[in-house]
């Protein structure tokens, strides 16, 4: 893969320029020119723009459009949606019971009163699953978002700037990978002294940084060698602009598919943490409201 020419190596960027890339080289008359004008626009709109850019038909491989989404897709998507909606609405669903409320019915089998039966303390298992799902989903998504932010930035910078920066950043990632992830997670939880959802997400998310950084770097290297990046550079686009407008949209797709699987991995990882560290597995004291 060709390295970026040295004249781009030391170019300094005005603060905030990544949000307001120079618009001079955009095709005149495009919606983007109007929105990313020198007047500046809100962050949210820039993100929407990026969204449009990702969904641009040219960016999506042709066969991905032609391929029909089969029945399997709708079943899976429907199930995920059902779980997510149930978890999100758990406090408002009338058929859910208080997950820590004990009843006189100990270890009952499934019935109309207790859909999945009750546990040894008489708590409704179905309600406990739904409430536990809230924790699992939050931890899964938050930890991967955390990994995406840090891993993504590190990978983009390493893959684009190359040279010593890349060596240093990837060396750090090697150290992080060699470090036992479990120990790191336990250490973060123990050190912070509490085991809220956010701390656990952080603890698991740290483990996601290095793999994501590696993937982003690899995708950045591949994209960085493509002709349209060279074209953009030839037109005099700034480094920040090339990263945000040319490279990022091409890196997002593979990374996103990795990240979605990562959510599932993170949920399983959270289930594997020792129960004292893990809020969804820790049984509340009997009789607690």
């Amino acid at each position: 893969m060709p390295a970026p020419s040295p004249e781009f190596g030391g170019e300094s960027q005005a603060p905030g320029s990544e949000y307001f890339p120079e618009s001079d080289f955009l095709e005149s008359g495009s919606m983007a020119t109007e929105l990313v004008g020198p007047g500046g626009i809100a962050d949210g709109q820039v993100r929407e723009l990026e969204g449009l850019h990702i969904l641009d038909p040219d960016q999506v491989p042709a066969d991905a459009i032609k391929k029909r989404l089969g029945l399997g897709f709708y079943i899976s998507a429907g199930w995920v949606a059902l779980v997510a909606i149930m978890a999100a609405l758990a406090p408002y669903l009338p058929f859910l019971k208080n997950p820590s409320k004990v009843s006189s019915c100990l270890k009952c089998s499934a019935s109309s009163a207790h859909w999945f039966g009750t546990d040894a303390l008489g708590r409704d298992i179905f309600s406990r699953i739904v409430w536990g799902g809230r924790v699992s989903l939050t931890v899964g998504v938050t930890s991967i978002i955390f990994g995406l932010i840090f891993g993504g930035i590190i990978g983009l910078v390493a893959g684009f700037i190359r040279g010593r920066t890349e060596g240093f950043l990837m060396g750090c990632m090697d150290v992080l990978l060699a470090f036992p992830a479990l120990l790191l997670a336990l250490a973060i939880i123990t050190f912070s002294g509490n085991n809220t959802v956010w701390v656990i997400s952080l603890a698991i998310g740290v483990g996601a940084i290095a793999p994501i950084a590696r993937l982003v770097r690899a995708s950045t290297l591949i994209t960085g060698g493509k002709e349209f990046v060279l074209a953009s550079r030839t037109l005099g686009a700034s480094q920040a602009r090339i990263i945000v407008r040319e490279i990022l949209p091409n890196v997002v797709l593979p990374v996103l598919s990795f990240a979605i699987i990562g959510v599932a991995v993170a949920i399983v990882a959270e289930g594997g943490l020792p129960s004292w560290a893990c809020p969804s597995l820790r049984p509340p004291p009997p009789g607690a409201a």
């Binding site: 399997g72 060396g171 060699a178 036992p180 120990l183 250490a187 123990t190 594997g272 020792p274």
Partner: protein
């Protein structure tokens, strides 16, 4: 040779960084090692004395260098709780974890490679689609659930394998395999799904290369093309991921070790963390990190064995 030298330097740097970071982290954790060693009924004078004896009053970098000096001579300190030297504990526990991992990788590869080959040969066919679905199903089940279900079926209901326990390989190899079969299988289930998918994907792209068309044009049977021409260059991702898994599981198989009551490294580290016994944690981290880095190194070397093109590229560079 230049490549090997560069890699060895890198390896040493990573090891230094990992050991220093873990040392730092363990020292930042709440809990006082002196309190653990001296006991609960220890007074202030006793605590100070213990700290002095342990060298805990020195600054962290000094303590790290002291620890490193001792570790290089094989002395990694000893547990504050049962006074067992860390190096002895590791000598005792590392074989358990290694045997477990070798068996699980063996099971995973032996099942995954033929399935991947068949799936890739007729990609999009009925076998490919069924195996894909099954693979995703297996991936979705956490290993601790697999372990409990396997115990229920094979240990409790059928009584074919013991549910817990361990017999050293040197004492009785057959019993050793029998005891480790269920834990190894629990680890292998999710891995074989990943391995199968990786091999299948790589094989399909290899099969589109020109030299495969060439081999077919020469009239070589498709079976032989698959085995002799396509298989070897398609094993890169498989070897990488299998190696990384192995490295990750040396410290990360603790759930399985706990369920099957195996005295492995992962369990050693976790119980030490939980009892605030930090010297064994440090030793365990070193073992895991060394193993991880060494495995990565071996994978890099294996690339050159698999693909002569890499060997030539390295020789030129």
């Amino acid at each position: 040779m230049r490549f090997v030298r560069k890699k060895v330097t890198q390896l040493l740097l990573v090891l230094l960084a990992v050991t220093f970071l873990s040392f730092l982290m363990i020292n930042l954790l709440p809990g006082d090692p002196a309190q653990v060693i001296c006991g609960i009924s220890c007074d202030q004078a006793g605590l100070d004395q213990t700290r002095e004896d342990l060298g805990l009053n020195d600054p962290i970098p000094v303590r790290y260098v002291n620890w490193l000096k001792d570790a290089l001579t094989g002395d990694m300190g000893s547990s504050a709780i049962n006074k067992q030297p860390v190096s002895d504990a590791i000598k005792e526990r590392l074989p358990v974890t290694l045997e477990l991992l070798i068996y699980s990788q063996f099971i995973a590869l032996v099942v995954a490679i033929p399935l991947g080959l068949i799936a890739a040969q007729r990609s999009g066919g009925i076998f490919d689609r069924v195996s894909t679905t099954v693979a995703f199903g297996l991936l979705a089940i956490p290993s601790f659930v697999v372990a409990i279900v396997l115990i229920l079926i094979f240990a409790v209901n059928l009584g074919w394998f013991p549910a817990v326990g361990f017999v050293p390989f040197t004492e009785n190899p057959a019993e050793n395999i029998r005891y480790l079969f269920l834990p190894a299988l629990s680890l292998a289930v999710a891995e074989l799904a990943v391995y199968m998918r990786l091999l299948r994907t790589d094989l399909i792209s290899t099969l589109q290369e020109d030299y495969i068309t060439m081999a077919k044009a020469k009239g070589i049977s498709s079976r032989r093309v698959l085995m002799r021409h396509a298989f070897r260059p398609s094993t890169f991702s498989l070897i990488t991921v299998a190696g990384l898994n192995f490295g990750r599981l040396i410290g990360g198989a603790f759930i399985i070790e706990v369920i099957f009551a195996l005295n492995g490294i992962g369990r050693y580290i976790v119980t030490s963390i939980l009892s605030r016994d930090y010297i064994p944690v440090q030793g365990g981290v070193v073992v895991v990190a060394v193993a991880y880095v060494l495995i990565n190194f071996c994978i890099d070397m294996l690339y050159a064995v698999i693909d002569p093109r890499i060997r030539h590229a390295r020789a030129i560079a």
